[in-house]
């Protein structure tokens, strides 16, 4: 089974960021506080299920599902 990513989270589910699979996207995400080892929690989704809103590093960050799919998590 392939690795799960933040895009696979259900509302209210928590996970820990492990790594990224896209370097350019990771630069942007790292600066916004999405660090390996940080805990994320999917807090809500936009009406059509995309973009999604994450709680990370003490604030709320909105991103598209395609971006969330570049953040790999461990379970």
């Amino acid at each position: 089974m392939s690795k799960r990513s933040v895009a696979d989270l259900k509302i209210g589910e928590r996970a820990t960021i492990e790594s990224f699979n896209n370097q350019l996207m990771s630069l942007k995400l790292l600066e916004m506080g999405c660090l390996p080892g940080a805990e994320v929690c999917l807090h809500s989704k936009a009406p059509l299920g995309d973009p999604i809103c994450l709680n990370v590093a003490g604030y709320c960050l909105a991103m598209r599902k395609s971006e969330a799919a570049t953040i790999l998590i461990d379970n």
Binding site: Q23, L24, M25, S26, L27, K28, L29, L30, E31, M32, G33, L35, P36, H43, S44, K45, A46, P47, L48, G49, D50, P51, C53, N55, A57, G58, Y59, C60, L61, A62, M63, R64, S66, E67
Partner: protein, 705 residues
């Protein structure tokens, strides 16, 4: 020490930078341009003490020193270039205490560039609500720079900030060592770069390497040398940058654990997040957004009406008074029919513009606008746009020029270009005067379902038409402009806040002032020119026309005769000749030569249309009709061929549809040219919008006729 130092305000978006800027500078602010780039620079003066008056520059909010969009570039351009005219003597980094962790990333980068820095710790009240306590003394000790506790909303702490800034000017306290020293990892690369450019700062040298393509102060040979250095050391920029961010965050985490005690009960959602569950809800989210939009249209149409009526009748009364008290003659006519009629056409729209900007400012201030971006991103993406395109599109309802400038926050190039090209299809406030008058002519003022005004709904329909066509145009452009660039949408959702009324007030004041001043001057000038060309004609054509009317209608009543003479004289004037010249082209749309004059004069700016109509129909009306408003004059206008009302629903709708699509605004084309740095895109914009306007207006007239 300089008596007029430069202070730069730096910080994350939503950290309270603009609030602090307003607190420090009050009304002593101005908007200019950064040298070399057409980028709005907000600056103002801040009297620190009797000897020092500082210039404060409000830089765009960024998350790091690595820019991700065009508007962020300026921050790095200034802070990495000590030769820049706006290079600060002291930079004040505004930090949101409720999210110290993320905010400190930018702070450590700015400090590492070697700029003397003061940390302004803001939003301590929000941190407290989240049960976080920040020890600012310890923070100052671990960072090695002065830390000042402020409340940017109330102005608390600005005195302490003055002292800290003065201190940093007199004897700068810099952190003992860099938070992140690139020489620890790539010493040879850094020393080569430092030697090449005579730099002393290791982190600045790293910025030369990573960002040299974006630095406007480096020329092509200099960039080539940097490329060679990078090549020689086999340096991978993205990998290193990722490593830098991670290392910085590690150090920051250590500092934050030491200075912040977080007593928040785990898993407790904040009230802001509870609110988000409703605002982002599949049903309620859109319902609320739809309701907000409806509210905006009700406000600008129904609520603004009493104010507009008051201004309208005030101008008409003044006009009547002037005509009575001044001696009759060409000068009085110029003052009343030319200048006052044109001016009245501008002043009457102040209430609508004020309401519109008030509501937009409230949406931005409260934090609701970013929720709108989230719920709209998916839909926008289908059309080749981006969630962030929502702000330009909504601002486009006010004016396309600032809206096009607001596209700079869109990081993806294609998304940005498409947003620029379609934004002018959103009905701007300059179209509002035209819509208002024509709707009032052909749509009855009735209540529907008890709450909604039928005219308000018609207006909303036109705005929706603009929106739908903007989306469709974007979709077509998306197919035409293929790209490999990957679009993205990553955005902080700020916590909800009560709007700052002084901010809202400033925004409304600024927009009304610039409308009256900028648009007003153009409208006034064109009104006067128009009055002249409509009052005089080639040779003595006009007098001949008058004599002809008198001869042909010896038995007509005095009033009727007067009207016919006025109308014939106008037709024989320069303006009338001009109108007749283009009549064949606009005839299929249902327009006559009078409307032709208005169309031509409004080519530079559509708001001129109403001023022109006022002027034309004032001239064409009899002397006993003083005090009659433009709307009444249009209603009384007769079709010379049929004798029925000239402004039939078919004609009015054809004109309305024409103005929904027509690209009649020089300022917008200029803005597009500036923002895309090419003449191709403004040309594309002009041609596609004009073609759309002509075809749809033609279809409308032919169908309704």
């Amino acid at each position: 020490m300089k008596s007029s130092p430069t202070i730069a305000l730096v910080g994350n978006p939503n950290a309270g930078k603009s609030s602090l800027f307003n607190q420090l500078t009050g009304l002593r602010q101005k908007t200019g341009n950064f040298p070399g780039v057409t980028m709005d620079k907000k600056s103002g003066t801040w009297p620190i003490d009797t000897q020092h008056i500082a210039t404060v520059i409000d830089l765009p909010g960024v998350y790091s020193i690595y820019p991700k969009s065009l508007d962020e570039q300026i921050v790095t351009d200034i802070l990495a270039n000590p030769a820049h005219p706006d290079y600060p003597d002291v930079s004040v980094v505004v930090v949101d205490a409720s999210n110290l962790h993320r905010n400190l990333l930018l702070f450590t980068q700015v400090a590492d560039l070697g700029v003397p820095t003061v940390l302004a710790l803001n939003m301590l009240d929000v941190a407290q609500q989240q049960s976080k306590v920040v020890n600012s003394v310890r923070l100052a000790m671990s960072l090695g720079v002065p830390v000042v506790r402020i409340n940017a909303r109330t102005g608390e702490g600005t005195d302490l900030l003055k002292k800290a800034v003065l201190g940093q000017m007199q004897e700068p306290v810099l952190p003992g060592k860099l938070f992140f020293d690139p020489a620890d990892e790539v010493p040879a690369l850094i020393s080569d770069t430092k030697n090449q450019y005579k730099l002393t700062n290791n982190y600045l040298a790293l910025q030369y390497i990573i960002q040299h393509d974006g630095f406007s102060f480096l020329n092509t040979p200099q960039r080539k040398v940097l490329d060679e250095i990078i090549e020689q050391h086999k340096f991978s920029e993205p990998t290193f940058q990722a490593g830098e961010t991670i290392t910085r965050y590690k150090r920051i985490a250590a500092i934050v654990t030491e200075v912040v005690s977080d007593q928040r009960p785990v898993n407790e959602p904040t009230w802001s997040q509870k609110l988000d569950r409703v605002l982002l809800h599949p049903v309620w989210g859109y319902a609320i957004f739809g309701f907000v939009l409806l509210l905006i249209f009700q406000a600008i149409f129904a609520w603004a009406q009493p104010f507009m009526d008051a201004i309208d009748s005030g101008v008409a009364w003044l006009n009547g008074q002037l005509k009575e008290s001044l001696p009759a003659g060409p000068l009085t006519d110029l003052l009343t029919d030319g200048i006052l009629a044109g001016l009245g056409g501008i002043l009457v729209f102040i209430p609508q513009i004020a309401f519109l900007f008030l509501l937009i400012a409230l949406l931005e201030e409260s934090g609701y606008m970013s929720r709108v971006m989230v719920i709209m991103d998916r839909i926008m993406r289908k059309f080749g746009l981006n969630g962030r395109s929502v702000v330009p599109l909504i601002s486009g309802v006010a004016c396309a020029v600032p809206a096009i400038m607001a596209t700079r926050s869109i990081g993806t190039r294609r998304d940005r270009l498409i947003t620029i090209l379609v934004t002018p299809l959103m009905s701007c406030s300059a179209r509002l005067p035209i819509y208002t008058i024509l709707i009032a002519l052909v749509v009855p003022s009735q209540r529907v379902l008890g709450v909604f005004n039928l005219q308000g709904l018609a207006l909303m329909g036109l705005y929706l038409l603009g929106l739908v066509s903007a989306l469709l145009a974007a979709y077509v452009l998306k197919i035409l402009l293929r790209t490999k660039e990957r679009g993205y949408f990553i955005m902080e959702l700020p916590t909800f806040k009560l709007p700052r009324w002084n901010h809202v007030g400033l925004t409304v004041w600024e927009s009304v002032r610039s409308f009256v001043w900028e648009a007003g001057r153009v409208i006034l000038a064109i009104s006067i020119v128009l009055w002249v060309v409509a009052s005089y004609g080639p040779g003595n054509d006009m007098d001949e026309a008058e004599a002809r009317v008198k001869q042909q209608n010896p038995m007509a009543a005095a009033d009727d005769l007067q009207d016919r003479i006025a109308s014939e004289r106008l037709e024989a004037s320069y303006a009338g000749n001009f109108g007749h010249f283009i009549e064949p082209v606009i005839r299929p749309l249902g327009y006559d030569w009078k409307i032709g004059i208005a169309l031509l004069s409004s080519f530079a700016a559509r708001e001129v249309f109403v001023g022109t109509m006022s002027t034309i129909y004032s001239i064409g009306s009899g002397a006993d009709e003083e005090g009659v408003t433009i709307r009444e004059r249009l209603r009384q206008e007769r079709n010379p061929e049929t004798g029925a009302a000239m402004y039939t629903p078919a004609l009015a709708w054809s004109l309305l549809i024409f103005y929904v699509f027509a690209m009649m605004c020089m300022s917008t084309l200029a803005a597009t040219q500036r923002e895309t740095k090419s003449w191709k895109w403004p040309a594309v914009q002009l041609v596609y919008m004009m073609a759309l306007a002509y075809v749809t207006a033609f279809a409308t007239y032919q169908l309704l006729k």
